[in-house]
Symmetry: C2
Subunit: 258 residues, 2 copies
Amino acid sequence: MDLVRRRLVDMRQRGLTIGQLATYAGVTVKAVRHYHRRRLLQEPPRDGSGYRRYTAAHAIQLVKVKTLAQAGVPLARIRQLLAAGPDEFAAAIAGIDRSLQARLEELRRTRERIAQLSGGDRLFVSPAVADYLDRLRELGVSDRAIQMERDVWILMQAVSPKRVAAWIVDKLDALRDPEFRALYLEHDAAFAWSADDPRLDALAARTERWIATWQFSRQHGAGPVQDSTILQLVSSSDETFSPAWARLAEIASQRPSE
Amino acid sequence: MDLVRRRLVDMRQRGLTIGQLATYAGVTVKAVRHYHRRRLLQEPPRDGSGYRRYTAAHAIQLVKVKTLAQAGVPLARIRQLLAAGPDEFAAAIAGIDRSLQARLEELRRTRERIAQLSGGDRLFVSPAVADYLDRLRELGVSDRAIQMERDVWILMQAVSPKRVAAWIVDKLDALRDPEFRALYLEHDAAFAWSADDPRLDALAARTERWIATWQFSRQHGAGPVQDSTILQLVSSSDETFSPAWARLAEIASQRPSE
DNA sequence: TTGCTCCTCACGTCACGTGAGGTGGC
DNA sequence: TTGCTCCTCACGTCACGTGAGGTGGC
């Protein structure tokens, strides 16, 4: 009994050490000293050895600070809040809760994106473009061509994201035309042909006819767009060069297109 | 048409500027340059003005880096992952997803704790102690006494959390005894009495009788504990000093308790 | 006596941000 | 020409952590 009483009195008179306080609140000793420097927690009195000795009031304050800090509130803001009146405090809490909800939403979205990292291209292009690429895959377009398309769409999205939305509508529209689908697949196949393949002239002529018909059939006047549907496919980059495609581009540039 | 074609070719040959790339990926230009320094993103070639010019491959890489960074993966780890094989990468993704789930849980808990910041004491004491304090409130114990109890329990929890669990069981047990409840409330009321109040001797005697009976009625041999139930109440701290309580402590210490 | 806790500096870390001082592109 | 973008340093920031070098408590 006497022992217990003495421990009790001792505890109340001497107070908690910084380690006891930190463990109680679930923070590190270094964090407690940091909060002292940032004046979020009053410096308690020192005992004979220069040790800090804390009261229950310090523990309560520390738990408040820790809770707010864990919620992502900057330490400078926490100091203001601790000095604020109950109304301002309650309003701040409401704001903090909203930001926590927003962070929860963000985390959920991040989780979905992380899951797609091992998967396809959905992370790198807009949903509309991803749908378009999926459509190409369905039609039997080669992986090489699909990757070329993806890269071009990424560049276009980066340069003028607004235009991409309109272009993709146009592209999906063209894909509904069987002749365009046939031309697309043949261009895809032509990638591996040699530059003097006899089929190239016929393909070029057929493509030209389609462009003319297509432009005529559409009143929207968005001329440049349709043209690029084919142009884009044959504009090879450095990494993926095709002699046959170069030849197709050459033929196209020699015809009077205006 | 020619304009569009030129823009297309231009875009593919010159590549994206750092600003276009950053906007596309949803990061800052400073972050992109930081990723270059940390070797998370290859330095692209420069154009005639010394500007960095990026390809679609850079954009894809940057989106990967950004997604992993948002998931809280340290940049040094991201660099390892980008160089890892698909199996190691998939395993890492699974681990990252687990940590995201854990963070979601933590955030939910933080949100609950934030909501309690304006409320009562539940944030600062264990659930068992909080229940005990609620019980005292139900019995009509004064706010002052409840706050004193809370502070003592905080200190006890900080010093020896294991013991607190046993003590609180004991306290709730004693509260089931009507005589203890009466004594508790009278001690609470005695706080404001003067030191020479005639009721003090009677209260001290009644308390002593209760302690003896209570100790006798319990076989568990946890002697020191029961005694502290009353002792604790009258051990006033510096801030809350009561002359009457000091007198009660004096009377108690003069009786031969062994 | 030994290991654990406590003390105070000073500097480090992580992921960028800020700002100076200057050039290039439309 | 003007404002916007880009460039490279160098230093700052936020919330602590690390580590040195030393003393105190059980």
